[in-house]
């Protein structure tokens, strides 16, 4: 049976790992290589590593090689990927998947190009959304820019572009640790046929159990690991006793 995945999310601003609240108020939360080593030792299911950087700054591929060497489980890299060359170099540096958000919203054809070259399974669409007048809208540029694209429309279109997975992040819930945006999730889940990773709001083991009762494939977790003593193992043991299939 396929297991539900617990994916620690590491956000990196080219200086240190950071974590914010509602995509703002960033706090430094440690060194990327050290954190990677720890998560690897703790045998998490997968790691999501995203750059929060200026769109003109370049990727440090040597750093990525070093990072991926520490990772014995699948590694997804995202944040600021603008060209097929970025994708080539990131995958060559040892990442297993890439995630795109802003560049996909600006140019959906770019997604198609990556899928054609590498296949769906290596492409994760990252979608950051927020409620505006009770409607869900997509945001680009690390949550800074509102688009006029409605969440549901984009999710339907993205599946036609053949992305392999969707990572959904509620900006309203991000970093709040008050539970996932279940209302939004329930609205869109029936429109999604590919695996969904839900992000934004995990504050307890119970929150994660709650979201896994829906047909979600994985949860992405950041604050809960950065700011509390809860470990991936504890979460998995808890899920296991509640009959959610996990890798122990």
């Amino acid at each position: 049976m396929l297991k539900k995945r617990i994916i620690p999310t590491l956000l990196y601003n080219n200086i240190s790992l950071v974590k914010g609240k509602n995509f703002d108020n960033w706090r430094s939360v440690g060194s990327p290589i050290t954190s990677m080593k720890i998560y690897n030792l703790r045998d998490v299911d997968e790691i999501y590593f995203a750059f929060i950087k200026n769109k003109d700054s370049l990727f440090d591929f040597e750093f990525l090689k070093h990072l991926s060497l520490e990772c014995d489980v699948p590694l997804t890299i995202g944040g600021g990927i603008r060209s097929l060359m970025d994708v080539d170099e990131i995958l060559k540096s040892g990442a297993d998947k890439i995630s795109v958000n802003t560049s996909a919203l600006e140019n959906p054809n770019f997604v198609k190009e990556i899928v054609n070259k590498y296949g769906s399974q290596q492409v994760v669409l990252s979608v950051d959304f927020k409620r505006i007048n009770n409607e869900l809208y997509c945001f680009s540029n690390s949550g800074k820019k509102q688009t006029n694209v409605k969440l549901i429309d984009w999710i339907i279109e993205a599946q036609k572009l053949k992305v392999g997975e969707i990572i959904l992040c509620s900006i309203d819930f991000d970093g709040t640790m008050k539970g996932f945006d279940l209302d939004a999730l329930k609205k869109i889940i029936k429109h999604v046929e590919i695996p969904i990773i839900i992000s934004g709001g995990a504050g307890s083991k119970e929150d994660i159990l709650e979201v896994f009762k829906l047909d979600v494939s994985a949860v992405s977790i950041s604050s809960l690991f950065h700011f509390t003593e809860i470990t991936p193992k504890e979460i998995k043991d808890f899920l296991n006793t509640n009959n959610i299939p996990v890798r122990l």
Binding site: L2, R5, D72, P74, L75, D96, S120, Q121, G164
Partner: protein, 204 residues
């Protein structure tokens, strides 16, 4: 023992290399088909589609070199994911195309096989042992390994099946036929279980 990883231009060679290099210094990524002759064992990774990969392998002269290595020299090959699927006679991804034909069988989509779960299949799933093999030495039945696929190899002869896995339907997750070994999952991304399987291949 000299081990090569075949890099025919698509996909992620680095993570396969990293995981093998942690086990042996005698591993090299090769990009020139002629080089294969100097090696004792090869790993054929793969991402992308069946049809396009076979096309590239044929265009760059890899196809015949690999065929000779496996069928004439009878040396060990490990196919990972699409790499294993290419061992089949026919694949149906993109369009119908012919593979290496090391294994009498076809590659079909999980969807067409009756899978009604979210696709692609991405994540950790257990392997159900079907027979004993040195490749599975010190690996426990029902260990979890990492999968990323929408297609699956259906061999005609069931006695080559090492393990099955289930995703709504049963599908073949690894095979072994003499010197030919294949895993649908990614041992290079499967933590300690994957490491053990790669180690067993190196020692085979």
């Amino acid at each position: 023992m000299k081990l090569a990883i075949i890099n025919y231009g698509v996909g992620n060679i680095n993570s396969v290399f990293n995981s093998l290099y942690k086990l042996t210094n005698n591993v090299k990524v090769i990009e020139n088909p002629n080089e294969i002759r100097e090696f004792d064992k090869v790993v054929l990774p793969g991402t992308g589609s069946y049809a396009s990969s076979i096309n590239i392998l044929k265009k760059n002269n890899w196809f015949q070199e690999i065929k000779d290595f496996v069928e004439i020299k009878q040396k060990y090959i490990l196919g990972i994911c699409l790499g294993m699927q290419l061992f089949s006679k026919i694949g149906f991804e993109d369009k119908k195309s012919n593979g290496f034909n090391f294994i009498d069988g076809e590659v079909k989509s999980l969807l067409s096989m009756g899978c009604d779960h979210r696709l692609p299949l991405i994540g950790w799933n257990d392997i159900i042992f079907k027979k004993k093999s040195n490749i599975l030495k010190d690996v426990n039945n029902l260990s979890d390994v990492y999968f990323v696929n929408s297609y699956s190899l259906i061999p005609k002869k069931k006695d080559i099946i090492l393990t099955l896995s289930n995703y709504g339907i049963d599908f073949v997750s690894s095979i072994e036929k003499d010197n030919i070994i294949g895993t649908q999952f990614h041992p290079e991304k499967s933590s300690y279980t994957g490491r053990k399987i790669l180690e067993n291949f190196i020692n085979a």
